[in-house]
Symmetry: none
Subunit: 412 residues, 2 copies
């Protein structure tokens, strides 16, 4: 099976000024045509460091994709490094020079002398034209390895990859297929889910099950390798069924689906509507819901009621309830949800009240204590949670948890 390695070149990446999104884009693209990325090397604008990385990458993989260092300034040394690695000289390519001059001419400017260096590529290699920038790419064969250099500007890299590199790679790596599918889970931790799944998570298996956790969302990725796509698809489906049987309602969606999207879809299908009343999450839940295009079909009303005054005046919460139980209590959460549903005239209302921190906690009410109520014509469902994390995370997880309570209620 053909494998790939990525070499990211640039001081700005090492110093953290630029986040390397190119490697992720290439990782996804290669994966989608059945070529796994096996390693990624990031190094600065230095000829010897680049040559060393190309050597390492060639030891790991059959295809080496480098990005960055093809600009016109002194710190752009990828051309030189490729020439040194291949043991050849740089050579002026007149069609490239013409293309760069044209690039400036279209913008009614003369090519600065400095850009001429971009028309030099290692002798015996193929130039990859760049239609939206001045930096051409390089494609070179070295023994049975395929080496490619592309610009670091993500837009230029993506376009060059799609137009010139992808067709070559498809040919280079025919006869292998990788199919993957992701399942989004909510409501149990990573280790609890791993325990429920048992031996199917073992390494070296086909399909491979990868597990990642982010803010309470557990993503399981099923990755199958086979001689062709159909076969790989069948392997994935078999494991998906197995996982769904074992995890039941914990699985909320597939692929990039968010919880808000799933809940929104449920509401839209049922023709039902939702209002929210947020205290500690202050807009987090509303934002998650309205991130989804078309949310206005089911989500039209909301309140953020940080103060007691707002809870009383806008949602009709009884002052006595707040006095007796405090604003962070199941009683107040319930009253907020009831108030929101009746004022908005919706089918459902979610209320959240809690302590996001870093201040506001008491002996009885720690940071992370959150009450969530879902109100519907079936009645009230109020739950108490202790959510871990800093302010951002408590708020985000509280909002996700509220969506999940509603998801499960809608699923019945």
């Amino acid at each position: 099976m053909k494998k790939a390695s990525i070499v990211t070149i640039g001081n700005e990446v090492l110093s953290g000024r630029t986040i390397d999104t190119n490697a992720a884009i290439l990782g996804r693209e290669l994966f989608s045509i059945g070529i796994p990325v096996i390693s990624c090397y990031t190094i600065g604008d230095d000829v010897d460091a680049i040559v060393r990385s190309l050597n390492l990458a060639c030891r790991d993989a059959d295809i080496v994709l480098a990005t960055g260092g093809l600009g016109p300034t002194d710190d752009d040394v990828t051309r030189e490094a490729f020439a040194k690695f291949l043991g050849v000289k740089l050579q002026l390519q007149s069609e490239l020079l013409y293309a760069i001059e044209e690039f400036f001419a279209r913008r009614e400017r003369r090519m600065p002398a400095r850009n001429k260096c971009q028309a030099y590529i290692p002798a015996g290699t193929k130039a990859l034209f760049n239609n939206i920038g001045t930096a051409p790419g390089i494609m070179a064969a070295a023994g049975d390895k395929l080496l490619i250099a592309m610009p670091g500007v993500p837009r230029e890299m993506e376009r060059m990859f799609t137009e010139s590199v992808l067709p070559e790679l498809r040919q280079f790596a025919s006869g292998q297929a990788i199919v993957s599918k992701r399942l989004g889970c909510f409501g149990a931790g990573e280790s609890a889910i791993a325990e429920m799944l048992g031996p199917i998570m073992q390494r070296g298996r086909n399909p491979l099950i990868n597990c990642t956790a982010k803010c309470g969302i557990i993503t399981l990725e099923i990755v199958a390798t086979a001689a062709n796509e159909n076969e790989a698809q069948t392997i994935v489906e078999k494991d998906e069924e197995l996982i769904r049987t074992k995890l039941g309602k914990l699985v909320y969606g597939v692929g990039d689906q968010s919880l808000a999207e799933v809940v929104g879809g449920q509401l839209a299908r049922r023709g039902e509507t939702l209002a929210v009343a947020e205290s500690c999450t202050g807009g987090t839940l509303a934002k998650l819901l309205t991130d989804i295009p078309g949310a206005s079909r089911y989500f039209t009303y909301g309140w953020f009621t940080y103060s007691n005054d707002a809870k009383i005046r806008e949602l009709g919460v009884e002052p006595k309830l707040i006095e007796e139980h405090g604003a962070v209590s199941s009683e107040v959460a319930s009253a907020m949800a009831e108030g929101a549903r009746s004022r908005a005239g919706t089918d459902f209302a979610i209320a959240i009240t809690g302590i996001a921190g870093p201040t506001g906690a008491t002996e009885q009410k720690p940071v992370g204590l959150v009450y969530i109520t879902v109100s519907s014509n079936g009645g009230l469902q109020t739950k108490r949670y202790i959510i871990s994390g800093d302010r951002d995370l408590v708020r985000f997880r509280a909002a996700l948890t509220a969506l999940d309570v509603l998801r499960l209620e809608l699923q019945v």
Copy 2:
């Protein structure tokens, strides 16, 4: 001079499902204490691949920082790889086990048996406690090299780095001083700002001025190098003054300060309060405001009024205004802001109404059309914007723009 190398571990990074932000965070942090990152290796969840990368990283650098692969599931093999690299066995650390059990206990849950593996670290190494997750880190000395493993979850990694790793690195590294300062700007594009600044942005200068743009926020970073910190500090201050003179009110804050934080600070200092009424941004502005701890001092009331009905019933917008001008109009924005301010009894109110897309546009009202009103006892200030970008970006930039209108009003 001591140098560092980063090893990023995880199949999800290679396949491009996760963008490696950890490497960039570490690059910046190390840079800020004068330690350059010289290389970065990304590899999958495989013991031998990790050991090989640790060897390469140790050849490049004095400090090796690894992230990822410390979770409780079978694909987490960094502990094992570190042990193999160091030539020692994994050993149970009872304090770690206790800390992990406590982590679950605080959340009123029992520790799953599977998490016990996280209490094992290579013999003779130091554990780094994780206060917001279950994955402890590892710190190990190998000859004159310092090796560190941290969790892959960015927030856990950042916290562990700041609390446990940074103090050690400061001691480990010495030499010349780098001082940097960032200025946040809003209200003009990157090239407009570059033109206003002129020659001080040239490369090779000390200090170096780096410029990055993200969602309308332009960040200028002043980086000075000198023999000691005081000297570098003086160089930075001189350029900061120069930039502030040239850019005036475009500079809204320093370091990591967000617009919401700056506006919140202004309100808190003046003892004044704010209400918001959001239509197209649906919680985005409220969330930005409530992301700031202590926001409840000045921000207590809010509405998201997606539907006309909600605008009429909750904010007292005249139905006639909506009929005549449409919900996306300066008239309705003004009425929303007035309604919000009078209902909440606050000093200021912000209203936003617009078309975030992808649907909802008409010939006269394109995607990105946004009206923003700031209401105060000085009257109403309504502005019209055409904001470019997709749904997320339009919503985010609209909320930032609203904050900036209020910032400038409060600055007078």
